[in-house]
């Protein structure tokens, strides 16, 4: 299970046949295990990692520190769930330290991102304060470097 996941985490397009050949096992078995992990939501989804600049898209991203009031029943979860469900929110984590939630937001421009914070996020009951930081330049995304290293002057044949 773990070995299959490792390969899919590296490359979600790896086919069950390919995975079976890499792991020296049966392709049907791999297919069955992947299906099971998808059904059990062990695998939450598959997505492409895109360089927005190369795709010629303007995207504004911000990370927002959010302080919220925990509730008697459910603690932070109800407010966190509510925030996480917005389409603009790309990720949402409960944090230790000086704030409670770290929310990553994406929008087509600054106006949209700012409007989301002022009109949606900060008006949710239980949200005490927000501090918004805009992303200036990404260097690494989900473990993938934007500027990938290559070593092209490697000798073609060596002992």
């Amino acid at each position: 299970m773990d070995a299959i996941l490792k390969i899919l985490e590296e490359n979600a397009l790896a086919s069950p046949d390919f995975i079976a050949e890499c792991l020296n096992c049966d392709a049907e078995e791999v297919r069955r295990k992947i299906k099971k992990m998808e059904e059990d939501k062990v695998i939450l989804g598959y997505k492409a990692i895109v360089d927005d600049e190369k795709a010629e898209r303007t995207v504004v991203r911000a990370v927002i520190e959010v302080k919220i009031t925990p509730e008697r029943e459910g603690g932070f979860n109800r407010v966190a769930d509510r925030i996480a469900k917005f389409q603009e929110v790309k990720s949402c984590y409960l944090m230790s330290g000086s704030y409670d939630l770290l929310v990553e937001v994406e929008g087509p421009d600054l106006k949209h991102a700012a409007a989301f914070v002022s009109q949606k996020l900060s008006t949710i009951q239980g949200v005490l304060s927000t501090a918004t930081h805009f992303v200036l330049k990404p260097y690494k995304e989900q473990g993938t470097l934007y500027a990938q290293e290559s070593f092209e002057d490697r000798l073609k044949v060596s002992p």
């Binding site: 390919f18 050949e21 890499c22 792991l23 490697r154 073609k156 044949v157 060596s158």
Partner: protein, 395 residues
């Protein structure tokens, strides 16, 4: 008056006798072509893990740019002794039994020069890494080859070894897992060979460069057998496990008298290994296990993938237990190793190394390295498959 110069006379006789590496000619052909997918590479395709490179940069920043002790920095020797104890179960004294060298290649060279009197015989098993026989000759020894066979998975049989031992035999060189075959030495055979060495009072040079790249993680060094540490020179390095080939850093561990003898040569030839590489190696040993394990996992997947495809297209290859080479049996194609490699290169632009470059018993085989990115391996597998199916139609 113009002096007549015969340039041949300048070259020492024992150097003249050394043949050109079989890989060299092939390398030149491949290097002159473009768009070649190469399975001919004997080094990791990974760039050295960042934390190791960063340690080298930090060393430069701190002005660590001088010599170290001839034996290598004390911190690195201490870490090497710890690593060898932990992973191989052999205790070496960091101060007197460890020497840091410029790659395992230099460690082999100084080990052979330290022990060989002119005419002493040194036995090695072939197919093997291309430098063994020349290194013995350069140390003024006589290189004696023992052939290993495909039927045995290219492992060394003690009874074959016994046949070539003479009163002049000084040492044997072992390299398991083996480049180019990926062969390993099973424990019972290892014990028989150790017994032979004791019986004939032989030294063992054990090149362990691929020992961290074993897929079952059950490697045992012959130096760890009872009574063997005293007659072993344990050679290891960082190039393969940590993808650090360009750092040129390796080491030898041996009883103090042998280490001292190697140090005498090293101090007058190299003086010491690069301090920057030593700092990088220290970081590799202290914090490199996770990155080494991640690379090992990748090699294992590629090994499985490539060996599946070779066997599926009708070219037999055993699943190597270590290193990153498949030694593929191409005898059913009716071509020689060299013909196969040249034809494959010409028709499909895939480079593999003819097996005979590693010794005569490599004839009938080609070495395919899977130290190449998976997407390249996938394309290579498709191309080799179509090449082989064309050959079969002709036959």
């Amino acid at each position: 008056m113009k002096a007549e110069v015969k340039s041949r006379d300048y070259i020492a006789q024992h150097v003249q006798k050394i043949p050109r590496s079989g890989i060299r000619d092939f390398f030149e052909i491949v290097q002159s072509m473009s768009d070649v997918i190469s399975l001919g590479i004997g080094e990791p395709d990974f760039v050295t893990p960042w934390h190791i490179r960063e340690a080298a940069i930090y060393a430069l920043e701190r002005g660590k740019t001088g010599y170290t002790s001839n034996l290598g920095s004390p911190a690195l020797r201490k870490e090497i002794a710890r690593h060898v104890k932990l992973n191989f179960g052999i205790s070496y004294d960091a101060l007197t039994e460890v020497i840091v060298a410029v790659g395992v290649s230099e460690a082999i060279d100084i080990a052979l020069r330290a022990i060989t009197n002119p005419g002493d015989e040194v036995i090695y098993h072939e197919p093997c890494y291309v430098s063994y026989s020349p290194s013995i000759a350069l140390a003024h020894g006589k290189a004696v080859a023992v052939a290993t066979r495909a039927e045995d998975g290219f492992t060394l049989r003690a009874e074959e070894l016994r046949k070539v031992i003479t009163p002049r035999t000084k040492a044997i060189m072992l390299n398991f897992p083996t480049n180019p075959t990926g062969a390993v030495l099973e424990r019972d055979e290892q014990e028989k060979i150790a017994a032979l060495c004791c019986e004939h009072d032989l030294l063992v040079l054990t090149d362990e460069i691929y020992s961290d790249l074993t897929y079952l993680r059950d490697h045992q060094s012959i130096a760890s057998l009872p009574g063997m540490k005293e007659r072993c020179i344990f050679l290891h390095g960082f190039s393969k496990a940590y993808a650090m080939t360009g750092f040129r850093i390796g080491y030898a561990c041996a009883p103090a008298a042998l280490t001292e003898a190697m140090m005498r040569i090293h101090q007058y030839s190299m003086l010491c290994a690069s301090i920057i590489s030593q700092e990088a190696a220290l970081e590799a040993l202290r914090n490199g296990e996770a990155s080494a394990a991640a690379m090992r996992d990748q090699y294992e997947q590629r090994r499985n993938y490539l060996s599946y495809h070779f066997n599926d297209m009708g070219l037999q290859c055993h699943l190597p237990k270590g290193a990153f080479y498949l030694f593929v049996d191409i005898r059913t194609t009716g071509l020689s190793s060299r013909e196969f490699a040249l034809k494959l290169l010409d028709e499909e632009k895939v480079a593999v190394v003819p097996g005979d470059a590693f010794g005569p018993s490599g004839e009938g085989f080609v070495r395919c390295s899977y130290a190449t990115a998976m997407d390249q391996i996938e394309i290579a597998a498709v191309r080799i498959r179509s090449f082989v199916s064309r050959l079969k139609k002709k036959n």
